[in-house]
């Protein structure tokens, strides 16, 4: 069958949108800008759906994975040969559906949300640029093309976080995000070098084939490679210790937070580990590190989510925490479960952000939850959809998050010797998740309205439509993973990520564990209800009861301050004082000054012959050049005596 999918169109369509709106946007009619901006992801989505149906709809007609390679290599020097190659398999297909599908919904939402903004065209050009890089990232057939998308989404994120660049905080946040990601990318880059050194290729399938041919390769260099890649993943997916940029990234417009900093870009680290799982499989140590980082981040971020008052920051910490679950899933080798949670999370977290955006919109830009309340009457659609998302993230049956979180926790429980500890950490996180999510829910929608001056109102239909669709997905999106071995999604992903087997000895263990998890979530709700359903002084009393702990958490464990003191201040201090003053100005400058002084002395002697103005200065230079000519014209005379022993004449 000689049909080609033209996979390259999937990223290139948004790129065309970026170019059109980026270059001409300021001069185009707003309707044209909107049309271009929406068509790009819509067409990409349509292509993805078409490919999905062609590949998997009617039985295996096409070989899977399906590979397309650009006839012209990208970089080809010496042993290094890298193509622009795209791969469509089950894993990239799932990701593409989310990216273009949810991406398209968020584009629609943005039309309403950003309609009053001066930078309307610029906004959409960046958003399209993001889709270009993100689809490149997931379609990549080799590590370097993935790195292109990887750094590219970082760029789009930088541009969109700092979209309102007049605000110093926004510009700072963008820069912080880019640099924190660069730290991760440094690790990724070293991982790429190690792959080149050990495998001589960067193509995923070739690396996998070499590993398959050598089943005895375990650990050693492979552990180093995996840990380097993991550094990259922690940067992009905001895990410990590189998570610090994500809360600040909330400076960007809210739809951006939904698309980039919740649903898609930040999941790139999870995708990367799933994509290279054949490497991680060979390094149990690296996998353990992934699991521990995931569990620790999930818990750590959840505690910080408890005390935030900015609605978007609560969601940011929640995102970090949920990404921790996905890392935990990868770490216990339940890649399908991690990807499944990635999918459901994309639905409910995008919805949470969009609904939060709707709330912020309704209150004329207010983000402080202490000034919200009683909104459920005023914004009923936002309330209903957000409630679905809150139930979903808390893992309450039968909402989407229940199935995916349950799958990860179950896999963690069954994992190795210390699996129960990982499971328990995940369970505590689930409790905290319910607590901070229902806290948000109560503070925003219930109690007395606390924003008196504003007139809360629902947004336009362009904003409400995506909320409703995502609301439906947050309810039913998890059903694809219902049943044995992750149900349909597990079966679908099995060819790429391996089958998911239930190794438990205890009957009904999964059922028992999920009942425990749901009970814990309901307990969280109950606590939140008692604390926040009515405005009481209970939260304040609770905080006063443990002042040390509260202060520590409220200040986000002082991690920003510590990083700032060590890395930023430290580096700047060393550069400024030691390198700039002592070494450059002092030692090197002094040496040059000394040399210059000697020359000046010579110059003073020559002063008699020159008047000091520029023309004679130039004349001196010319004279110097002439002297050179004279020297070599007279050279034969000098040489004459030596010509006897040059010996190497012609």
């Amino acid at each position: 069958m000689n049909v080609r999918f033209h996979l390259w169109l999937i990223p290139l369509l948004p790129f065309a949108g970026f170019l059109i709106n980026g270059i001409l946007g300021a001069r185009l009619h707003r309707g044209v800008v909107t049309a271009v901006a929406l068509l790009a992801p819509l067409l990409s989505f349509a292509l993805v759906v078409r490919d999905a149906i062609a590949l998997y709809g009617t039985g295996p007609v096409f070989p899977s994975p399906y590979v397309e390679t650009c006839p012209m290599p990208w970089i080809s020097v010496g042993p290094l040969h890298v193509d622009f190659s795209f791969v469509l398999d089950q894993l990239s297909l799932v990701m593409l559906l989310i990216i273009t599908g949810v991406g398209f919904l968020i584009h629609i939402y943005s039309v309403g949300y950003m309609r009053g903004d001066k930078g309307y065209a610029r906004y959409f050009s960046y958003l399209n640029l993001f889709l270009f890089f993100m689809t490149t990232l997931v379609l990549a057939g080799n590590v370097l093309v993935m790195f292109v998308g990887w750094e590219g989404v970082g760029l789009a994120s930088y541009l969109l976080i700092g979209f309102w660049y007049q605000k110093t905080s926004a510009a700072d946040a963008g820069k912080k995000a880019f640099i924190a990601n660069r730290v991760g990318d440094f690790g990724f880059l070293i991982g790429i070098f190690l792959l080149l050194a050990n495998f001589g290729t960067l193509t995923f399938s070739e690396i996998a084939a070499k590993l398959a041919a050598n089943p005895e390769w375990m650990g050693g260099a492979l552990t180093t490679i995996c840990l380097c890649l993991l550094v990259g993943a922690t940067g992009k997916s905001a895990q410990l210790p590189l998570y610090v940029w994500l809360p600040d990234a909330m400076e960007g417009p809210t739809p951006v937070s939904a698309l980039i900093h919740a649903a898609t870009m930040v999941t790139a680290g999870v995708y990367m580990i799933a994509r290279t799982h054949f490497l991680f499989e060979r390094s149990p140590h690296a996998l353990n590190v992934v699991a521990v980082i995931g569990a620790a981040t999930a818990l750590f971020a959840a505690t910080m989510g408890l005390v935030q008052n900015d609605i978007k920051r609560v969601l940011a910490y929640s995102t970090i925490s949920q990404l921790g679950y996905m890392f935990l899933g990868c770490g216990v080798a339940a890649y399908s479960a991690a990807i499944f949670h990635l999918v459901t999370h994309a639905f409910f977290k995008a919805l949470l952000f969009l609904a939060a955006g709707s709330v912020i919109h309704a209150l004329g830009g207010e983000q402080d939850m202490r000034k919200m309340g009683g909104l459920w009457r005023k914004t009923p659609i936002t309330f209903v959809t957000m409630t679905a998302a809150v139930f979903a993230i808390c893992g309450i049956w039968p909402f989407a998050g229940f199935y995916s979180k349950d799958a990860i926790l179950y896999a963690a429980f069954l994992h190795g010797t210390r699996g129960e500890i990982l499971w328990f950490v995940g369970l505590v996180t689930a409790l905290l998740t319910a607590l901070y999510m229902f806290r948000l829910w109560y503070m925003t929608f219930f109690g007395e309205p606390r924003a008196h001056e504003a007139h809360p109102h629902e947004g336009p239909w362009s904003m409400l439509g995506p909320l409703v669709i995502l609301g439906a997905l947050s309810i039913c999106g998890g059903w694809i993973g219902r049943g044995e071995g992750l149900g349909r999604i597990g079966e679908f992903l099995a060819p790429t990520l391996g089958t998911y087997t239930d190794e438990s000895q205890v009957p009904h263990l999964e059922l028992i564990l999920s009942c425990v998890a749901v009970a814990v979530a309901l307990l969280g709700w109950l606590i939140a209800h008692s604390l926040y359903a009515k405005k009481t002084d209970r939260p304040a009393r609770l905080a006063a009861a443990m002042p040390g702990a509260y202060k520590l958490v409220a200040n986000k464990y002082y991690v920003d301050e510590i990083y700032n003191a060590i890395f930023v201040k430290g580096l700047m201090g060393v550069s400024k004082y030691l390198l700039n003053l002592v070494v450059d100005a002092g030692i090197l400058g002094g040496a040059a000054w000394l040399l210059g002084g000697i020359a000046q002395l010579g110059g003073a002697i020559l002063q008699r012959w020159q008047s000091g103005n520029l023309r004679s200065y130039a004349a001196w230079l010319a004279a110097g050049a002439a002297a050179v000519l004279v020297v070599f014209l007279l050279w034969p005379a000098l040489l004459h005596s030596q010509s006897g022993w040059t010996g190497l004449g012609h």
Binding site: K167, F186, F193, N580, W635, L639
Partner: protein, 513 residues
């Protein structure tokens, strides 16, 4: 074979020189010198395009070669030619000609005749450096490239031109004198100035090793200052702040880096191999040192200068790693840096001319009023940072990955830290110039975005950043065969068992826990 092939290099050398004479003798009326210089530089650029169009990538040795006896005693022949190493550097020089003229269009208002004729002399000198295959002719062009530069810095410096010119003079002329001594010594011992012959003589190793060591060191010193290699960069900051934009963009980097490759490593392979560990160390220190200093500068020209030290050092690392593939990366990086630094100079020159200061603290919030300047600046910064799909990434990746696999993992990892730091200083610069609230200084001046001449200079550069980033294989194809380093054959640092199909050496079996 094309009819022009026999004379193209002579034409390339003569056209700017003839233009310089023409500018000097024609009356200085209005913009006449500008237009004349623009036409001449465009014409010479078009001539340079003949080279890649008719270059045969597979061939060994030099192409478009001209070798004519000129002076019998001492034996000096007019020997020029290009190979994969110099081909694109000639074209880059050609491209930066019109860019430089356009960038100077409004900035240079006084004594236009002097400026443009010296500028054109400078063009000839740079072409000469890249195509000369006779050492004494090479030296003539090398020296010629320094003279107009020093004069122009002194005449057109922004604040303290003469001082910067003196610094430049002292730093570059003294080592150049050493270079001349080295060249003359070689002639005394071998009876030839010819590059190709000398290469053969030196390969046969009949000259006293101790003396050769000093000669090679003299060559190295002259080039290392010109690059500049850490710790010889003292002149660069002042030169960047004072030199007119069109000259600042060519003052550092490519001439020195090319010369290191051609006239140090390829001419003295044994000596280069001995000194390589030191040069690698200096290069990596330079990468980090330059980047750290760029972080704390208050003047944007100084940020650019230290950033340049950092980036040039990476090329030095590639050169002295003596790994063949890394050399391709080195040449590619020289090209990319030539383009991106050129763009940066034009953009910062625009700001300096419009606002009259290079103090970063005075700026802020320019993006709202100067959207085009901001966009171009961001793209150039991203290229500088090495974002994939832009030209900076390709060279950086090829250099670092080959250094990692073939030379030294530790040094490669250390140098790769530069990628984090470069993001730090470039994005800080972007932010402090263009983002945040508008500064009082910026608000007090009328906003004027890029003019037509500036757009005409910058747009080709920005397009090239993208093209070079997306389609490097075209360039690599032509470079490959020019770069067959002799020095690598017996390099002690070149690890033996790294063939791509070999088993991963370091992977060992480990029991599953």
């Amino acid at each position: 074979m094309h009819a022009l092939d026999q004379s193209i290099l002579t034409l390339i050398l003569l056209v700017p020189l003839a233009g310089a004479i023409l500018v000097a003798i024609l009356p200085d009326r209005g913009k006449a010198p500008n237009w004349l210089a623009l036409i001449v530089t465009l014409f010479s650029f078009v001539l340079t395009l003949h080279l890649p169009a008719h270059f045969a990538p597979g061939m060994k040795g030099f192409q478009f070669e001209i070798d004519r006896a000129w002076i019998a005693d001492p034996l000096i022949s007019y020997h020029v030619g290009v190979d994969g190493l110099s081909l694109w550097l000639v074209v880059l020089t050609g491209l930066l000609g019109p860019v430089g003229v356009l960038a100077s269009w409004n900035a240079i208002t006084a004594r236009r005749k002097v400026y443009y004729s010296l500028f054109l002399v400078q063009q000839t000198a740079m072409y000469g450096v890249f195509v000369s295959l006779n050492l004494i002719i090479y030296y003539g062009f090398w020296e010629l490239s320094l003279v107009p530069m020093a004069i122009l810095i002194a005449m057109y410096g922004r604040k303290n031109g003469p001082k910067a010119a003196l610094k430049f003079f002292l730093f570059t002329f003294i080592p150049s004198a050493l270079l001349l001594v080295g060249i003359l010594w070689l002639y005394a011992r071998t009876g030839t100035f010819d590059y190709v012959n000398l290469q053969i003589y030196l390969a046969h190793d009949t000259l006293p090793a101790r003396a050769l060591f000093w000669v090679a060191l003299a060559f190295l010193a002259a080039f290392a200052v010109k690059v500049p290699v850490f710790p010889l960069h003292g002149w660069l900051g002042d030169a960047f702040s004072e030199a007119p934009v069109a000259l600042a963009m060519v003052i550092a980097g490519k001439l020195g880096l090319y010369s290191l490759l051609r006239f140090h490593v390829e001419l003295f392979p044994v000596q280069a191999r001995h000194i390589a560990p030191l040069m690698i160390a200096l290069a990596v220190i330079g990468v980090l040192y330059g980047a750290c200093l760029a972080l704390v500068q208050r003047d944007f020209w100084k940020v650019l200068a230290f950033g340049a030290v950092s980036h040039f050092s990476l090329v030095v690392l590639a050169i002295y790693g003596l790994a063949p593939a890394a050399w391709n990366g080195a040449v590619y990086q020289i090209l990319s840096l030539g383009i991106v630094e050129g763009g940066m100079f034009v953009l910062l020159g625009v700001l300096d001319t419009r606002y009259g200061t290079s103090q970063i603290a005075a700026y802020g919030g320019l993006a709202a009023k100067l959207p085009r300047t901001a966009s171009y600046f961001v793209i150039a910064s991203l290229t500088m940072i090495g974002l994939p799909l832009l030209s900076g990434f390709v060279g950086e990746f090829v250099i670092l990955s080959n250094t990692f696999t073939d030379v030294s993992r530790g040094w490669a990892v250390a140098a790769a830290l530069g990628t984090i730091l470069s993001a730090g200083y470039m994005l800080s610069l972007v932010q402090r110039l263009f983002y945040g609230p508008e500064s009082t200084m910026a608000a007090s001046k009328p906003a004027s975005d890029l003019r037509f001449n500036e757009l005409a200079a910058l747009t080709p550069l920005v397009v090239l950043m993208l093209v070079l980033g997306v389609a490097p294989s075209y360039w690599f194809r032509t470079m490959k065969d020019g770069l067959q380093p002799e020095a690598t054959q017996a390099s002690p640092m070149h690890s033996a068992a790294q063939s791509p199909d070999s088993l991963p050496v370091s992977v060992h079996t480990e029991g599953q826990p």
